[in-house]
């Protein structure tokens, strides 16, 4: 289907389906307008405007994929600009020394702010990221569905063909144990850093 003819709701559906071209299309569609707007609103450079935009698109993407955003109350443009406005205010409050904004920093701040309280502040995201890349299926897919897509055990059980949700839950426990072990083995210690 011609994406230029798609409504905002259809675009949302395309992004949620996991079709990478959907998010790319959204990225290109609003890029110019957003960047010009946030340069004025955020009083920032072209590079920083880009970083804000990428951070905005990432937050939008996660909200679509984890089911937090299922239906737009306003236009997609308004939604994205709303994220951008909050980001600018948040970043300026946290970063008043005037240092350059980076999408990576926006991403990590977003994760820290939106995680449940029990997460520690100094989690080594890069370490977990590296270990997760190595974990392989079915764990990779199962943990993606549970933690990134926020699916229920019933949905996961159905999608991955487990006997029942309890079986899926047990598999998830084993996968997390595997991941935890990988992380512990990779974590630098006094003994193995020379």
């Amino acid at each position: 289907m011609d994406k230029t003819a798609m409504s905002d709701a259809e675009l949302l559906h395309l992004v949620r389906s996991g079709d990478a071209s959907g998010l790319s299309f959204v990225y290109e569609k609003y890029r110019r307008e957003y960047i010009n707007w946030i340069r004025r609103f955020g009083n920032c450079s072209a590079d920083e405007a880009c970083e804000f935009y990428q951070g905005t698109i990432l937050i939008f993407y996660e909200n679509v994929m984890n089911g937090k955003l299922t239906e737009l109350q306003s236009s997609l443009k308004t939604y994205l600009f709303g994220i951008g406005k909050n980001l600018v205010m948040h970043q300026y409050r946290k970063n008043v020394r005037g240092e350059r904004v980076k999408a990576e920093f926006i991403l990590q701040t977003h994760l820290a702010d939106s995680s449940q309280e029990l997460a520690t502040k100094d989690v080594d995201l890069a370490l977990v990221h590296r270990c997760f890349e190595r974990i392989g299926d079915p764990c990779h897919r199962l943990l993606e569905l549970f933690y990134f897509r926020q699916k229920s055990m019933e949905e996961i059980s159905s999608e991955l063909g487990y006997k029942n949700p309890e079986t899926a839950k047990n598999q998830k426990y084993k996968c997390m144990e595997r991941l935890r072990k990988l992380v512990e083995d990779e974590r630098p210690t006094i003994m193995n850093v020379e």
């Binding site: 990428q54 990432l58 205010m89 240092e99 350059r100 991403l107």
Partner: protein, 212 residues
């Protein structure tokens, strides 16, 4: 409890994994796209002023330049580079009833670009307590209202008495100097702001090249 915390740490890492991968894709896409051209000075002026006020401002600026023999290019440069600093300190909400206190009203007026009203209230708030955020926004309001000397004092006070908003204060102070034709003073500040780590470095370098 410890195990729950570890699960949440791993969960955050898993989310990071997928978002980081997507960020890499977005970066690759960005590299493949042409640079976004910034809007022209005319379009930015129209965004900044309401249409009637924009026409009046242009006429006034030309008259001002003619009468006071001020450098036309300084005014154009100022107009092109001045954007009031956004209210990131106490964003106000729409639809709030009319019983807002002075502080809320001040920030709301600033957001609505009612700089006259905002400046009056910010000055009152400063007599009660000096706050860096209010000094910054008051300076911006004064600059928008063409009260250049007052704006300069606001930014100089901010730099002298507080930490944390120095780069912002210096940037807007440089615009005050640009507006008043004190180019050498403006250039000194732009050189200080030229550190690539600083938000304003790109703008400062651009102005250093443009102002001879």
């Amino acid at each position: 409890m410890m195990e729950e915390r570890n699960d949440q740490d791993l969960a955050q890492g898993i989310r990071y994994h997928f978002l980081h991968k997507k960020l890499d894709e977005l970066r690759a896409l960005e590299k493949a796209l042409p640079a976004v051209e910034s809007e022209t000075a005319v379009v930015r002026v129209l965004h900044y002023w309401k249409p009637m006020a924009a026409a009046a401002a242009v006429i006034l600026a030309i008259t001002f330049v003619f009468l006071f023999n001020r450098s036309e290019s300084s005014e154009e440069l100022f107009a092109r580079n001045f954007e009031p600093y956004p209210n990131v300190f106490e964003p106000t909400q729409r639809g709030v009833d009319g019983t807002s206190d002075k502080r809320t009203s001040a920030f709301a007026m600033y957001e609505q670009r009612n700089f006259e009203g905002a400046a009056t209230l910010f000055k009152e708030l400063l007599t009660e307590k000096k706050e860096p955020e209010i000094l910054l926004l008051l300076g911006n309001a004064n600059l928008a209202l063409n009260r250049n000397e007052e704006a300069k004092n606001n930014f100089l006070t901010l730099i002298r008495d507080f930490d944390g908003l120095d780069e912002q204060a210096k940037w807007f102070l440089s615009l005050c100097y640009l507006k008043s034709g004190e180019k050498e003073k403006a250039k000194l500040i732009w050189e200080q702001l030229g550190d690539p780590k600083i938000t304003y470095s790109e703008k400062a370098k651009k102005l250093l090249n443009e102002v001879k």
